[in-house]
């Protein structure tokens, strides 16, 4: 395999591993804050117990996110030296603001949030929790700004082959940023909700039916049931935005080879890149045109009209379908569970089993969504400005990349296995200890 492909796989593997954990911590941080605030308001110990259980998983995710994030800050230089050389004047300040305003904030107050409970007043501890949650969200904001700018670059001029900023406001509020940011926030909300609901259901099924488990389970299910329709709506808006600025990506997502009016929505197909058509197609007539142009006979530009400047079709097409499929499953299961729990007050076993199966569904949807949008940007690294191939390091041999790639992959697979098993181990351990409930905590020390 050539060095470019290996560099892409390596960076992709790292960024895939990384996003797993922020996609949990961004929303879980706010959930922890709510647990604390509910406790402060109701003085019901179940919220504090929920906080104490989930803060451990938060800490674990946070550590995994930090170490894989550090890897990324180095791989920008080792894998894509051309990126910073061409657009460093734009990407640099955005990354710098992320480190300065977000990383230190979350990392410093995390110490107080995790271990400072008996050392600071309850109010300061709640403030620390708030700052950690705010820090993770702020960090997501900056990185989404940069990523969105790579999809829809505006507010700059090219001088001697280098981008120079002309308007920071335009750069920050670039056309795809609002959609991408909200889409990612909701993705994190869903990931954390299904994780909380799934692990709580696991505890429930193992006989741990204490109030804090039920409260977390219900909270997770209700949050998911509220977020998922919003997410589908925002996703649709995001798609329309992509159609406007990156039509080639949409053509690949829908596997539309020839420009056509009244394009069908393909439920399934085998895109064939040699013959430049789909081998098998099962579709609903005119639906793609309706969704994308809000007109039954709307015109969609086909891949063959992009002069070869379009992303690989099959990965984008399938990743998009996995994301949408997972989203629909999330909608069905969260509404079904919410309806059943609302009716009887406690989940039935079959609902709990369904929720356990959905524990990591947020990961599947988030990753396939990112694959859709990032592979969909190819062959560009910065849309219309810099190709991925130009940005790659020319002096790093493919054997060097493949050996380090093997090391990273081994590490990542092992760590994901460890993470999942430790989450369920903590859940089982909690079953044992929650029978002798933790005594109430006095506020303000």
């Amino acid at each position: 395999m050539d060095a470019l492909m290996l560099a892409r796989i390596q960076f992709g593997a790292n960024i895939t591993f990384h996003i797993l954990f922020p996609s949990i911590t961004i929303a879980l941080g706010w959930m922890l804050l709510f647990f604390k605030l509910f406790y402060g308001k109701t003085r019901d110990i179940k919220w504090m117990n929920a906080y104490k259980f989930w803060v451990k998983i938060f800490a674990l995710c946070f550590a995994l996110g930090v170490v894989s994030g550090i890897t990324m800050s180095f791989q920008f230089g080792t894998n894509w030296p051309g990126f910073m050389m061409t657009v460093g004047n734009i990407a640099g300040p955005l990354l710098a603001y992320e480190v300065l305003t977000a990383f230190f904030l979350e990392a410093t107050f995390l110490g107080i949030m995790l271990f400072g409970f008996s050392k600071v007043s309850n109010r300061i501890h709640t403030l620390a929790t708030f700052l950690v949650a705010g820090g993770t969200t702020l960090s997501a904001f900056w990185i989404i700004v940069l990523n969105s700018w790579m999809h829809t670059p505006v507010g700059f001029e090219m001088i001697d082959g280098k981008a120079h900023a002309t308007s920071w406001l335009e750069i920050i509020f670039n056309p795809s940023m609002p959609y991408r940011l909200v889409h990612m926030m909701f993705a994190s909300g869903l990931t954390a909700s299904f994780l909380v609901a799934g692990v709580s259901s696991y505890r429930f099924l193992r006989g741990d039916k204490c109030a804090s488990v039920i409260a977390a389970l219900k909270g997770g299910v209700y949050a998911a049931a509220i977020i998922i329709p919003l997410q589908i709506f925002v996703g649709d808006m995001h798609g329309l935005n992509t159609l406007k600025y990156q039509p080639a990506k949409i053509a690949a997502m829908e596997a539309v080879w020839e420009t056509q009016e009244g394009a069908p929505l393909l439920l399934f197909a085998f895109p064939n890149k040699e013959k430049r058509r789909n081998d098998v197609e099962i579709g609903i007539p005119k639906l793609a045109s309706l969704i994308l142009t809000h007109n039954l006979n709307g015109k969609i530009k086909g891949l063959n009209d992009f002069n070869g400047n379009h992303p690989p079709v099959a990965p984008v097409f399938f990743a998009f379908r996995i994301m949408v499929g997972t989203g629909i499953l999330m909608l069905l299961i969260s509404w079904l569970s919410a309806w059943q729990i609302k009716k009887t007050g406690v989940p039935k076993n079959w609902v709990a089993i369904l929720l356990v199966c959905m524990t990591f569904s947020g990961w599947v949807a988030t990753i396939s969504g990112w694959y859709t949008t990032e592979i969909g940007r190819q062959p560009w690294l910065v849309n219309g400005l810099l190709t991925t191939a130009t940005a790659a390091a020319s002096n790093v041999s493919s054997s060097m990349i493949s050996s380090t790639l093997a090391m990273y992959l081994m590490l990542y697979v092992t760590l994901i296995c460890c993470f999942i098993s430790v989450v369920f181990y903590l859940a089982r351990k909690a079953v044992v200890t929650s029978s002798n409930l933790i005594k109430p905590i006095e506020g303000g020390m």
Binding site: K52, V55, K56, F62, A63, L64, V66, V67, S68, G69, I70, T71, S73, F74, F76, G77, T78, P81, M84, M85, G88, N89, I90, A91, G92, P93, L95, A96, Y97, V99, L100, F103, F104, L105, A107, T108, F109, L110, G111, I112, L114, F115, G116, F117, S118, V120, H164, A165, A393, N395, V396, T404, M407, Y408, L411, L415, C418, V422, Y425, I438
Partner: protein, 335 residues
């Protein structure tokens, strides 16, 4: 007058900022990496104490590395590409070490108790791998990224010496934060590590001018020699003071328990000033100067404004966090 144009002074300021972050990283993550390496010499109970002493801080300590590498990336993008592709393999190994160390820190406390030993071992080896890789990178930087058997050996030696340095600042941290037997042990570790540190600083100070005529001239031409002479003299006096102090520690009322740590900070500072003097104004030794590698002045200005507003806040809340966990370490718990 030229110094007053933005493209002249901004790279200098960012050089300074990067220097401060790298120095902060080497001292702050240095002590927790050092504690990680020293854990191999401790009993199980002491290991918990040692982990507890660094628990609330390591995340934020590591952020200084992100800031240092980040400034290199955003302010000197060309140098970031050149340096990190030249150090591709040691960088990957360092990152592997950092990952192992960071995660085992959390896993050891949460995983099944029977796996705790395993995670402890991962933590110690992760700390050691990270340190050796960082020292190796420093060594290769000094020899200008030449890849020969000799430079490889030099890289490994500087890796081992950096490990001694981190162990010393780690021991200093433990002397300050612990009591009783662990503190006595830390004093012993500190005395051994001090000699390794001295040796390392000596080797680097000798090799750097010997292999690079430009740096040789910088140090040994008159009057530079006399202007810079205080640096090695103060370093020598400091090492002597530290050795004498360590012999008397721990003091009955725990007086002076902060001296080894403060001394370690001063030692790192002196070494850093020496290195910075040797290599300035180059960011890639003898090839690219900070002005040649710098981003456009308008981007640097935007970052600088942000940094000037945010850095004081970072310092204030970092000090606050250290104050919250001030004093001798107790068992770490989520309660």
């Amino acid at each position: 007058m030229e110094i007053f144009t933005n493209s002249q002074w901004l790279p200098l300021v960012f050089m300074g900022l990067m220097g401060i972050s790298i120095l902060a990283y080497v001292i702050l993550d240095g002590y927790d990496l050092g504690v990680g390496i020293l854990m191999s010499q401790a009993s199980d109970e002491e290991k918990d104490k040692m982990i507890a002493s660094i628990g609330p801080f390591w995340d934020a300590n590591e952020t200084w590395l992100v800031l240092g590498a980040g400034i290199l990336l955003v302010a000197f993008p060309i140098a970031h590409g050149v340096i990190l592709t030249a150090l591709y393999l040691p960088t990957a190994i360092m990152l592997g070490g950092l990952i192992l160390r960071g995660v085992s820190f959390d896993f050891r406390a949460k995983a099944n108790a029977t796996h705790k030993h395993l995670w402890d071992n991962v933590f110690m080896s992760g700390s050691l791998i990270t340190t050796i890789a960082q020292g190796y990178m420093l060594g290769l930087y000094i020899v200008g990224f030449e890849h020969t058997l000799t430079t490889f050996a030099f890289g490994i030696i500087s890796g081992i010496c950096l490990a001694a340095g981190y162990c010393f600042v780690g021991a200093g941290w433990l002397i300050m934060k612990t009591e009783d037997i662990l503190q006595i042990k830390a004093v012993r570790w500190g005395r051994i590590a001090l000699w390794g540190t001295t040796l390392g600083m000596g080797v680097v100070s000798l090799v750097t001018p010997l292999i690079n005529p430009r740096i040789f001239d910088k140090w040994f031409s008159i009057p530079n020699f006399f202007i810079m002479l205080p640096i090695p003299l103060i370093t020598g006096a400091l090492i002597l003071t530290l050795e004498i102090t360590l012999r008397k520690l721990p003091h009955p009322n725990d007086h002076y328990c902060w001296v080894p740590f403060a001394g370690a900070v001063a030692l790192f500072l002196l070494g850093f000033v020496g290195l910075a003097y040797s290599f300035f104004p180059y960011i890639v030794p003898d090839k690219i100067t900070i002005w040649e590698a710098a981003s456009s002045p308008e981007s640097l200005l935007i970052i600088l404004i942000g940094a000037l507003i945010v850095l004081p806040c970072i310092i204030v809340y970092t000090v606050f966090a250290y104050r919250v966990f001030w004093g001798k370490v107790k068992d770490l718990s989520y309660d």
